[in-house]
Symmetry: C2
Subunit: 212 residues, 2 copies
């Protein structure tokens, strides 16, 4: 089992008290210490790399990485496409999370954030992605910002970014400046894409049967 090898490596990480940026033992040394073949070590390391926990640099070595990245989801995206149902859910979820980000940003935005957003809104045509990227950063919730970025990346791969009237941006900006989260939510609601409003009769199937 390479799962066993994974645990061993994790134990080494803990025991050696490895912090982000630190170097792991080489693959050959790990293989020797764990008493397994190098290929098994490699498969375990691949898993860790896939999770974004380590980073391998050819000719240098393997290094601990800051937690939080998950390009794994980007990869999953490649396979998740071509599914109408998933697309509809994606569009809706993205829209909903954008509302959450707006609300949070209203409470926590700094003066610099507002300045930055003003600059973005001044540049026509207004860059939707950049606007929300800034809002996401201003939200103060890194995890939610991250989820948004992933969803945004998904969506961009098969649909153009939503287009809003300039007036909409102005209203959002005003709400952010006055820290009026209710107003921001209302503005966002007013710009809800029509495709999201009518989804009645659309039910979940029990897709969890295979979770064994």
């Amino acid at each position: 089992m390479y799962a066993e090898t994974l645990k061993h490596i994790r134990r080494i990480i803990v025991e050696d008290n490895l912090a982000p940026g630190d170097k792991l033992p080489s693959e050959r040394e790990l293989a020797e210490r764990l008493g397994v073949g190098r290929s098994s070590v490699r498969e375990a390391l691949r898993a860790l790399e896939f999770l974004g926990l380590i980073e391998t640099r050819r000719g240098e070595g393997t290094y601990m990485r800051e937690v939080g990245s998950h390009q794994l989801i980007d990869l999953l995206a490649m396979f998740l496409l071509e599914n109408e149902r998933a697309k509809a859910d994606l569009a809706e979820t993205k829209w909903l999370i954008e509302r959450l980000l707006l609300e949070l940003a209203c409470r926590r935005r700094s003066a610099e954030d507002v300045d930055e957003l003003k600059k973005i809104v001044r540049q026509k045509p207004i860059d939707f992605v950049r606007f929300f990227q800034t809002v996401a950063e201003a939200s103060g919730n890194f995890l939610l910002a991250r989820i948004w970025r992933v969803l945004s990346g998904f969506a961009a791969s098969f649909a153009p970014p939503p287009s809003l009237a300039d007036a909409g941006y102005e209203q959002m900006l005003a709400a952010l400046e006055r820290q009026d989260s209710a107003k921001a939510a209302a503005v966002w609601e007013a710009h809800r894409p029509s495709s999201l409003s009518k989804r009645a009769g659309h039910r979940l199937t029990n897709n969890d049967a295979h979770f064994r």
Copy 2:
């Protein structure tokens, strides 16, 4: 690059029109068809297995799997611990998404959903996870439900599920029955954990430097 190999394998899956349950070519055959070593094929397959897209059975072969599983995230959870910042974001995001699910469920819940929830609320002590699992299913948004499940799993790994007074469940249930999403949101807001309200001064650092 094994990323290249991954794409090749994906192409084979698409071209051969492989459906869940179907058998993939053997590792040796794939290696020959793609002109790479078997170890490279194995590393690519490991990635797919990690994503829950395929299943390997020793002595039999490799098979397509229903999408949806993500033991990968459970593994990630093991490593994500020991990070206060991430925990705070997680708790907040989970709470926010629960609010979204409640709102969606108000609009789309069926009569059966309400019955199911009534049953859950009747059984004391009320099972928070089961309650929201049902709400998530009733939301009609599989993606958002899935995100919630992941977050919930994370949270459960280092904190007990939130405890609500029975009256809170009754209020939510009433809002769901009357399809009053504004009421549901208000109820949820009233039960906002105190730890989430005060997070001023908490800013994002630029954690993305390592995304190169």
